[in-house]
Amino acid sequence: MDIVKETLNSLLRGIAETAKETVESFFMIDAEVKDDWSVEERLSGEFDHIITLGCSNSDYQGVIMVASEDDHVSAFFEQKDELVDIYGELANTYCGMLMDCPGVSEQFGVLSQAVPMYASKRAFFPRAWAVTGKVYVGDSWIQIGFAVRGFAMMINR
């Protein structure tokens, strides 16, 4: 079994809880995660708004994704014109908090962050295992994902 997939499976709950804690502390609201978090073979999906943030060290390359549909945004914040800024900072904060999540930096090391980038409609990060799921406030949600791949894994594929 792929070591990255195996590791992400073992850290799945912690990574999901870290997403919840990030949203709660960032927006200062109560949020929840449900059972829709899973490990997938790539980070992909179609959303109205997508922010990705790269992160890496000498052994691993990762991507943080924050995404949502337009009509779910207002449950989290009112300043819709600042969405790119806010999601970018949320991704930045989640990346930092993931490094505090037990097991993540022990396995992957500390991943240094790049600046966030905005995309619309489609996110795609291939050849990387990803943990992704939703963080809810009521019925509204933000999709959050963390994909990672080892440089050695890319060479061997």
């Binding site: 800024d85 970018g88 930092g96 908090m97 490094m99 505090d100 930096s105 500390v110 600046v115």
Partner: protein, 127 residues
């Protein structure tokens, strides 16, 4: 008279929160704000504030580089890093001369966080 502060972060959303913290909680005067490391250096030279806060992950020039430039040119500068970056970066910044390092998220509705943040800033001026 309140201390003069510059706040630099690439998130305008966070800049507003940090400015509000300094003005409402600390009674400081925020004389300028910026969104990248180049602006940080320019604004520091222009205003010579009592304190500058720097995010690390920013476009054009990151906050750690800006901190190093500012402290190299102005060794008495009071620089506090406010960042989500973990790992050795904190030690590197403090070793170079940053006076504090506050980890994001900034929980401004959490009384304990606000108290700790205030203490970090006050300690800068007690050294």
């Amino acid at each position: 008279m309140g201390k003069k502060v510059i706040v630099v972060d690439d998130s305008k959303f966070l800049v507003k929160q940090i400015v509000e913290f300094f003005e409402a909680e600390m009674g400081y005067e925020v004389v300028a704000t910026g969104n990248d490391g180049n602006e940080a250096v320019e604004l520091y030279e222009k205003h010579k504030p009592d304190l500058i806060t720097l995010d690390i992950t920013m476009p054009n020039k990151d906050g750690q580089q800006a901190m190093e430039e500012i402290i190299t040119k102005y060794p008495a500068a009071n620089v506090v890093m406010i960042s989500a970056v973990r790992g050795d970066t904190m030690l590197e910044c403090m070793s170079f001369g940053a006076k504090g390092y506050v980890e994001k998220p900034l929980k401004f509705k959490d009384a304990e966080f606000v108290s700790d943040f205030k203490s970090t800033i006050e300690e800068v001026f007690e050294e």
